[in-house]
Amino acid sequence: MSSLKKFKPRYWRSLAELENTPEFREYVEREFQSPLDHAPPNSPERRRFLELMGASFAMAGVAGCHWREDKLVPLSRRPEGLIPGVPRRFATAVDIAGVSVGLHVTSYDGRPIKVDGNPQHPESLGACNVYHQASVLGMYDPDRSDSVKQGGKPSSFAEFDRFAREHFAGLRTRAGAGLRILSERSSSPTLAWLRKQLLAAMPQAKWIQFEPTASDGPREGSKLAFGAPHRTQYALQAASVVVTLDADFMAPAFPASLSNARAFAQRRTAEGDMSRLYAIESGYTHTGALADHRLPVRAELIKAVAAFLDAEISSKVRALPEFGAAQPKPNAPFLAEASVQKFLTAVAKDLLANVGRSVVIPGLDQPAEVHALAHRLNTLLGNAGRTVFYTDDFDASEVSDVQALKDLVAEAPSVDTLLILGGNPAYTSPSDIAFADALGKVKTSIHLSLYDDETSALCGWHVPAAHYLESWGDVRANNGLISVQQPLIAPLYAGRSAIELVALVLGDPEPNGQALVRRSSQGVLAGERTFRKVLNDGVVAGSQFPHLTPQLKPLPALAFNERELGGAKVGNGSFELVFVADPKVHDGRFANNGWLQELPSSFTKLAWENAVLLPIGVAEELGLEDGHLVTLTLGGKSITLPGVIAPGQAEGSLRVALGYGRTHAGHIAGLVSDGIAPVGANAYSIRTSAGYTVAAGATLALAGEGERLAYSQDLYGIDKLGQEGIQERLPEIVREGTLTEYREKPHFAAEKVESKPLLSLWVPPVSYEGHKWGMSVDLNKCIGCSACVTACQAENNIPVVGRKPMSMGREMFWLRVDRYYKGEPASAEIAFQPLPCQQCENAPCEQVCPVGATVHSREGLNDMVYNRCIGTRYCSNNCPYKVRRFNYFNYNLDVIGITPYTPTEDPKMKVKSMVFNPDVTVRSRGVMEKCTFCVQRIQNTKIRAKNEKRDIADGEIKTACQQTCPTEAIVFGDLNDPKSRVQKLQKLPRSYALLGELNNHPRVQYLARVKNPNPELA
């Protein structure tokens, strides 16, 4: 810089240059210009958009390069193999609260628009969940933080870097005294490597990990059982009997949930060797919905149940003496109840009959003892090494998250620098830990975060984080397999990743994510060839941990308190309250994602808020009508939220989802500074470190009627007459039988409806030569996870309508997952039924359209011609499935604020419109829309096959819903192809057409549910 100081140019390019201002000198000094530096930080205008596109083009061509090193100019020569307008797919990976999955991202001219699972990743197998599906919308969220803030005022990365270099250099000289790093749980090997380096370089620093929805049970349970923390892998494809103890092994929070679901579903094919699932749980889970037998018990009683099973089983297997004695049967009154005893004895008997072919799965939120008992049972039953495998735990934390946070708060006044890597502890910390106050006592606080959120507002520095689709990184799967995360686009708002920030703390002058990832791999990723192969495959082959055979230690006799034995009757004031991560907004991190907010919850079908789920008995006792407000009090603190009756909820157990009631989330989930009220109620405010996952002593009180809720089903509550009507026709809608029944009467599903032979007056007008698209949905495999709904939304540009329109019944989902309860509310069974357009051959919608806007294609699709549609809505009236959706307003413009066709100069709006799939028309106001079987995918594949002069292979076209389904419940294909899977499935005797008696000839057929009940419990 010194050489520039005196320099006066003879010819100057700008006044700044002539005057040689400090800004200009700095500008010249920085040798490699990033356009992000001179553009205002939040203005991806046209030029910048082109630059970003150019960057992504370049990156697409040379997938191994980091964006910073790329030429940020439009390409003058097209890289080989890159055709503008043809989407490309890249492998990457994501880590959510320490649970990671490998992904494939579809990128359109440099802009990622769709996320799917990576079929090569063993814990995805091509599937992904709603969080992953919606993450692309999260990346384009205009509410994301777009600039560094210091003391709440906009600053710049340059300023932060200058500060950080100096500040951390000082800390390094002091061996990190007073430095505390608070991170989320992460599976990243690079972050772990950096952490190790950091603690080595700065021995006095401390690294704390806090994840609000993670529990210590699994780690502590493993320590209790084996003396060391091990991770558990389940091989459910080998399990004939599965027993869950308040565990939802198919829920996103569960490690390897997607592959668990796939493996479990493999054994739920009624034509094959079917497994049997017993679910013992407090409230309905995806797992419980599929169970052959389900026992609702409060979460706090699970320990006694596990002990009971141990007592039943240990005495009957040849247990080695060093495994210790069996647990005595807990003296719990509820275990003496005939129905419970019968259930558990049958479970124990079935487990014993399937030694080596069974598995007991403990719930993540269950205490260590339950985990230890499950490990013990699995070892005693000979399942270890057959259906259960153990590997090393890569999570380095030693103490419980809550305890670590408590300690941090206690020492806050002596903390010099607190670096918070992600997370939102000011919002998520238990209410008895005054984290927000402690933050004020810390001298320097830095928060790296996607949003300028509750925690950022209290920190000295806020640094925008790069989204996972924008940054380099790596993750480890549950079995240890490493995946590399590669950026799909240059950071929209110049964010940093956590590893880059930690590297900066360590004194790396120019932290570079890619370099860090490659360096941390200790040579594995050093070679260019290997690295490119890893990027291509998405996994580092062979990096998974070897299986261990840990030795079971004797388990000390368990102590039970009175509640754990279910002694006193639980009533109002002593309810059990279970806190769960929300299946849509997680711990609140996805709260500002419209797709997730609008997604109906799997069980309640409620969107746009959380509710306290309560058993029917409690509702009756309180006189609560479904959906009316209740005040939920716990430990003197209360929140008011809707009370929703949850059939199948264990008596005395309440359930509430965390993640709502955000005050600094954004324009969707609540931004108090802009007058946008928080969505939902903040359950963290009543959560304490004592009752962290399961709290005792909750009180409910009626609090009035409240607003109409945004239900996607049973919008107005169903009266008795309606309930009876539903129960009466349910056997025809969701056809169900038992395995024995199916074997004896394979055509039981067809016989559920008494229907005369269906004749038609007309010769079918279309002969369906060539392709004849059809779909088969296996109701035996649908777990109701709703990933298909969000996948459909992402693929087909389905608008978000908002809470109020949804409460009026105007949601736009092309695919919905219907949820039906069967039987008595207290012990109701649940059934899910995904319902896309059935693409009837004899379509009622087509005949009634006066303008021919919905017409039959030669391949049998009911095509919508949006240009022709004038919106009479007659087609919807005549659709027996009511799968058509109408644009009552211009939802994209009214709610999202933008359509791809709207001229705008507002950069935030332009960012929003980047998420649209260019292959699918964005519908305007006043037209009808519906599922098209992803006709754009069909056409693309047809064109490709035609160009390559070949036939379309079976399975080559996958609809968006099918692609993401973890259990492969949805199969799409050509019914004219005698070898296609869909054709074979539709020919199975249990395949039936929903409302087929209307002679509509739907192209979607359902495979009837087949349960495998234990004859002893029948």
């Binding site: 089903q713 049973d714 919008l715 107005y716 169903i718 009266d719 007459l721 309606g722 009507g725 539903i726 009466e728 026709r729 349910l730 809608i733 329109p805 009026m808 019944g809 105007r810 949601e811 919905r816 219907d818 949820r819 039906y820 039924q833 319902l835 009622p844 005949q847 009634v848 359209c849 006066p850 303008v851 021919g852 022709r868 549609c869 004038i870 919106g871 009479t872 809505r873 007659y874 919807s876 009236n877 005549n878 027996p880 499935y881 009511k882 058509r884 959706r885 109408f886 644009n887 009552y888 307003f889 211009n890 106001r925 006043g926 037209v927 009808m928 929903l994 409302l995 209307l998």
Partner: protein, 474 residues
Amino acid sequence: MAAVSDVNQFVATQDGGNPFTGPPQGDNPFAKITDNVVRVMAAPRPPRAWYIAFGISLSLLTMFFGSIGWVAWTGIGAWGNMMPVSWAFPIVNFVFWIGIGHAGTLISAILFLLRQNWRTSINRFAEAMTIFAVVCAAIFPGVHIGRPWLPYYMFPIPNQMGMWPQFRSPLEWDVFAVSTYATTSILFWYMGMIPDFATFRDRSKSVAKRISYGILAMGWRGSSRQWHRYERAYLILSALATPLVLSVHSVVSFDFATAQLPGWHATIFPPYFVAGAIFGGFAMVVVLAVPARQFFGLKRIITIDHLELMNKIMIATGLLVGYAYGMEFFIAWYGGNRTEGFTFVNRAFGPYAWAYWTMITCNVLSPQLFWFRKLRRNPWVTLAIGMVINVGMWFERFVIICTSLARDFLPSSWGYYIPTPVDFMTLGGSFGLFFTLFLLFCRYLPMVAMSEVKAFHPSVLAHAHGGGSHGDHH
């Protein structure tokens, strides 16, 4: 004002007799009839009641166009329509108004062919009512669509887009049924008025009126050749209009009957809808006739006997409608289709039971009061029951359309429709349009078919004098 009160005095003394069946009562020359009718047009100012009514109607009309404009501007989500009830108030209103539009042609054409001569004093007004009701009805299908700037896609207009309507759709049949009906009704109405326009022309004092009525009268001179042709044409038109009375509402009912929705899919719909339309149409005629005869001094022409005859028709059609309601239930049970059975039980006892029982009370129970001679000969009771029946007929369409849609085959898609304020504004506003047109008609057009009334006047009939009276048109 003076003229009107004078007429009222005159009428008051003459009220109560039967001008058609009984012997002529008192002095009633044809000139008096003409005077009565023409006086309304000739009066410098209509009665104050007209102004009040017109003011209210005009405000409602403003609200109508305001609400439609709002809907067109923002999107039809301004109404409460939702999934699954995607047809609601607008289509209910459409069917309601189309139904109202039936009595006019029925009275003009069918009763003409059946030689029901008492029709003469009410036919003009009923025809006017028909046309205004059809105007109200025709607006709804146009504005209820999602893109209200594109209803012309439904017309078979050759165009460069290569688009053509889809003729299998009952909505397309509606387009033709309603437009044919509107055209025929207007022609019929207008043609019937030609001799009366001539009378107005001849009786007008101002030049402007003389010119306008002169143009409307199309050079009518009352020659016997003109009368001959006029009567022929009238007969032909009434013969043409007669099937339309039955066809229009049958076609409208096909919108529902050909759909496969339980509660819509019923073969009983065409006759059921026609009976309902006549029922509602007559109710609307009495609702209009009672105040009109009161305020415009036409009690001598539209007598209590006329009202009584109409009330009798209402009992008959009311019973037909009641029978249809019962038959729907019977078939739903007898047909053994569970979904359909549920639909009807749900109609009567489900969340929309209030609407169903309102309908039953208004349409089936209230006309039973007309069994009492005293009640059916009381114009105010007639008015009240007429209004109640109109409410009931509106609810009938609401029940059919909304309750069937709200709960159909799959319980997962069940819903409950709640109208928004804009829905009520549009509904109320359509009455504004109707009454504005009707009040203008009362003021400026011949409200009673003078020539026809004269033709069937008792004095004429008593002397078995046929068409001879036609020569005297003033």
